[in-house]
């Protein structure tokens, strides 16, 4: 995040000079009711302001300087990124060319034969590895049903063409005297193999570059009269200065294979027609380009746009309430437990920690039933005149049938689930607050309330700021609480079905995705992918803004 440029009150200078992103500033200006011209105050002038003026000044600063600066920085960093990429490519090309022209025959040959230079300079182990890699690669690409075969079959990203070329079909078979399924291509596999081939090609290019570079380094080292590293040195260094490679190899492989690859695959799926009807096996699916993105613009009943909008807004609302209710109440509970003079602190804490220990499907399913019409609490509440009137007038049987009540209930029950975590964290932080802060404030004449509001609260807010963001994102994807409590119900009749599944009032994007991809005849994988991408965009934008604008994610030394 550092590359985005750090914006703080101190180092914002409001430049009037033209920059490529001036239009954003202009845009912000037009948004404001009065065109405010920002005059930067120096520190002493700033200190002279009274509370109201400070507030106004900071607001002004936020809209006129911090926000535009933020957008400008993002723009600039994107620009810089491309610039650096260009620079990098240029440097690489220059380097490769000079390596070739200046290199001796061994280096030149290693442009064709992997590891040749390594052999020449006595790095047998590396040489063998490189050579084996090259042989495997060339072999894999060329053999029948190898890399090139899959790549050609996949019609990669060619809109309108199918993924895979041979459609499976029933054909009359004389032997069995009936129609028999003749297997064709499986689009899912074709696409996967094509993707793997592309990754393999990239790895090949990288390795080629790597070994050329190493040859050159070997040449330079030998020219200086030093010894190059032997295979034994390489093996040894894996436990020493290359230890990170040893430790990272397995975890990184796991992440590459089970997160990166599936995510790239998933993004690709959004550009295909992969769904239950076109599952790739019985029916090939095809590349459709940006077609599905248009579907999102459909705001009519059952339209994707409407469903996505509604679900997204509830998801955001849910995440907001779930995060902040937990945050404040959890902190409150922690402060109570840690209050001076309260006994058996450990007992109170343990009671709360029980909720973390017990698997959520047990506690949540049970609690959901408690609030049902037959449950104890549900029945009790149903007898309250005001509630029963509301239920009967709307033909609701249980509390869970009412959209509003259901929404409120999940938030309340989530408090029950979430407070213990926050309480534990807040306890840790409370214990970390230096006691001399309290002592000095007592000498300065602060009351208990003032101590709380001027020391405890700001300190906690500060330290837990970054956690709030994580927790917010976590709640956006909080599958367990919603699905185990309501499975997304009650049904939302305004939307009906969207993406092949019926949508409920308490459905989050993640539960909607879940229903959409669970192997039902209505599964629309492409849609799930599309929404996944949108969720990513939402989360990424939120995080970017929070990281850049929220002060507590930076300046961590302040409370050091």
């Amino acid at each position: 995040m550092d590359e985005m440029g750090i914006v703080s009150r101190k180092d914002i200078v409001y430049h009037r000079r033209q920059c490529p992103f001036d239009f954003i500033r202009g845009f912000v200006y037009r948004l404001l009711p009065v065109r405010m011209i920002m005059k930067r105050l120096n520190d002493l002038e700033y200190l002279k302001l009274n509370k109201l003026q400070v507030l106004l000044y900071n607001l002004k600063l936020f809209f006129c300087a911090i926000l535009p600066q933020f957008f400008k920085n993002i723009g600039l960093s994107i620009l810089n990124f491309f610039k650096n990429c260009g620079l990098w490519v240029k440097n690489e090309v220059v380097d490769i060319v000079t390596t070739f022209t200046k290199g001796n025959w061994a280096v030149k040959l290693s442009f064709l034969f992997f590891g040749f230079g390594n052999f020449y300079y006595g790095q047998i182990l590396r040489g063998i590895l490189f050579l084996v890699f090259e042989i495997i690669f060339i072999g894999y690409m060329l053999i029948p049903s190898g890399g090139l075969y899959w790549l050609a079959k996949s019609n990669f990203l060619q809109t309108g063409k199918t993924v895979g070329t041979i459609q499976g079909r029933f054909e009359y078979n004389e032997l069995y005297d009936t129609d028999v399924w003749v297997q064709g291509d499986d689009s899912v596999k074709v696409m996967l193999y094509a993707l793997l081939t592309i990754i393999f090609i990239i790895a090949f290019i990288y390795t080629w570059r790597l070994q050329v570079k190493q040859c050159r380094i070997c040449m330079d080292i030998t020219a200086k009269g030093k010894k190059v590293k032997s295979g034994k040195d390489d093996m040894k260094s894996l436990l020493d200065d290359q230890f990170h490679k040893t430790l990272l190899s397995l975890p990184l492989f796991g992440i590459m294979a089970f997160t990166v690859l599936p995510i790239i695959y998933m993004v690709l799926v959004a550009f295909t027609s992969y769904d239950a009807a076109h599952d790739g096996y019985s029916n090939l699916f095809s590349w459709v380009g940006l077609e599905h993105f248009n579907e999102l613009m459909d705001f009519g009943k059952g339209g994707l746009g409407l469903a996505f909008g509604e679900i997204l807004s509830w998801t955001l609302m849910w995440a907001f309430f779930a995060t902040f209710t937990n945050y404040f109440l959890g902190m409150f509970v922690a402060i109570m437990i840690n209050k001076k003079g309260i006994k058996i602190k450990k007992f109170w804490r343990t009671v709360l920690v029980m909720t973390i220990a017990i698997p959520q499907f047990v506690s949540l399913l049970y609690v959901a039933k408690l609030f049902d019409s037959a449950g104890i609490i549900g029945k009790l509440l149903g007898q309250v005149p005001f509630v029963s009137e509301y239920l009967t007038s709307n033909n609701f049987i249980s509390l869970w049938d009412s959209p509003i009540v259901a929404k409120v209930l999940v938030i309340i029950i989530n408090i029950w689930v979430g407070i213990p975590y926050i309480m534990l964290m807040a306890t840790g932080i409370l214990m970390n607050i230096p006691q001399d802060l309290y002592e000095s404030s007592r000498i300065d004449g602060a009351s208990a309330w003032q101590q709380y509001s001027k020391i405890t609260l700001p300190y906690m807010m500060f330290v837990m700021g970054p956690y709030l963001l994580t927790s917010f994102v976590g709640n956006l994807n909080n599958f367990n609480v919603i699905y185990l409590l309501t499975t997304g119900n009650p049904l939302n009749t305004d939307i009906g079905t969207a993406g092949g599944v019926s949508v409920g009032h308490t459905d989050l994007l993640i539960t909607w995705l879940y229903k959409m991809t669970l192997n039902s005849p209505e599964s629309k994988y492409y849609l799930a992918s599309l929404i996944g991408i949108l969720v990513f965009v939402v989360v990424a934008v939120l995080s970017l803004i929070v990281y850049n604008v929220m002060p507590s994610t930076r300046n961590e030394e302040d409370y050091g």
Binding site: F243, G254, I263, I342, V362, A374, I429
Partner: protein, 295 residues
């Protein structure tokens, strides 16, 4: 004269402070007792209802009219619960071992070793974390089906799913490693240790709390997971974990026959897990608080 006045005032406010604190504490105690009641009520109810014999349906009273072990007997004799429990326990142990290895490797490297691409790697994982991880299941399910790692073999598939990408959850343990002074590594290296020796002779012996925390987290994951498990298991009883298995009993059509049995299952699952958890509570708290403070 002045002096005594002053003393009096001190004594007065002192008394006032004491009294008001006593009042404050009383209020806090009342709230805490209330909270305890609210938090324990469901568990209390769960245990009570699991012993109810007179009807398997949900009732609007808590205290059973007739106590008995019927639900537990039915649970073990008539259902696949034992199998599910075994599946989950195996997954828990395997995940605990593998995940600990993955997470600790990743966090140790990111915290204590400096190498080219470290920042880039951390940014990559941050960005990957913003995708709804669930969507990776579209592909993983397909591949696992071909490899035969779904349905009855789901526990194996699930162990892979839980562990493979677990390196991305390095934050808490990295926060812990960050608190160990760097000069310890340096002293050891000057003393003649390779980085590997620094890792297992110096840092690991100091990291007991975080190792236990990571093991605990790994062990708990399969017990609570419903989303990924239900996807991979795909309604095959032989491969179910407890969450997926028991979830069915609570569906609208089956709840009337299975409600009390669900309660019994809940107790059987919750008991060992909770005991382990409460025993290691200290380490859990250390992990959670350490992670929060480090951000």
């Amino acid at each position: 004269m002045m002096k005594t006045n002053h003393d009096n005032r001190i004594r007065k406010t002192g008394m006032g402070a004491k009294a008001s604190r006593r009042l404050g504490n009383t209020i806090v105690y009342v709230i805490l007792v209330l909270i305890t009641a609210i938090w324990l009520f469901p568990f209390f109810g769960l245990v009570l209802e699991s012993f109810r014999v007179e009807t398997a349906m949900q009732q609007s009273y808590l205290w059973p009219k007739e106590f008995g072990w019927d639900n537990y007997i039915r649970l073990f004799k008539e259902t696949d619960f034992m199998l599910w429990f075994k599946n989950t326990a195996i997954m828990g142990v395997a995940t605990a071992v593998l995940q600990t290895f993955f997470v600790l490797s990743m966090s140790y490297v990111l915290s204590r070793l400096r190498f080219k691409g470290r920042k880039g790697l951390m940014n990559l994982m941050l960005i990957l974390g913003m995708f709804p991880g669930f969507l990776t299941m579209i592909l993983i399910y397909k591949v696992f089906t071909d490899l035969g790692l779904t349905m009855a073999m789901a526990p194996v598939g699930l162990i892979i799913v839980y562990c493979a990408s677990s390196g991305m959850g390095y934050y808490v343990s990295k926060g812990f490693f960050d608190t160990i002074p760097k000069s310890l590594d340096e002293a050891a290296r000057v003393d003649g240790a390779t980085r590997w020796q620094v890792f297992y002779k110096v840092i690991m012996p100091l990291s007991k709390p975080i190792v236990i925390y990571t093991i605990l987290m790994g062990f708990m994951a399969p017990w609570g997971d419903f989303m990924l498990a239900s996807y991979i298991i795909h309604e095959n009883s032989a491969g179910m974990n407890v969450a997926v298995g028991v979830f069915e009993w609570m569906s609208k059509t089956m709840v009337n026959e299975n409600y009390t049995m669900f309660c019994a299952a809940g107790v059987v699952v919750a008991l060992p897990v909770t005991l382990v958890f409460l025993m290691l509570q200290k380490y859990y708290v250390e992990g959670v608080t350490g992670g929060a403070v480090k951000g």
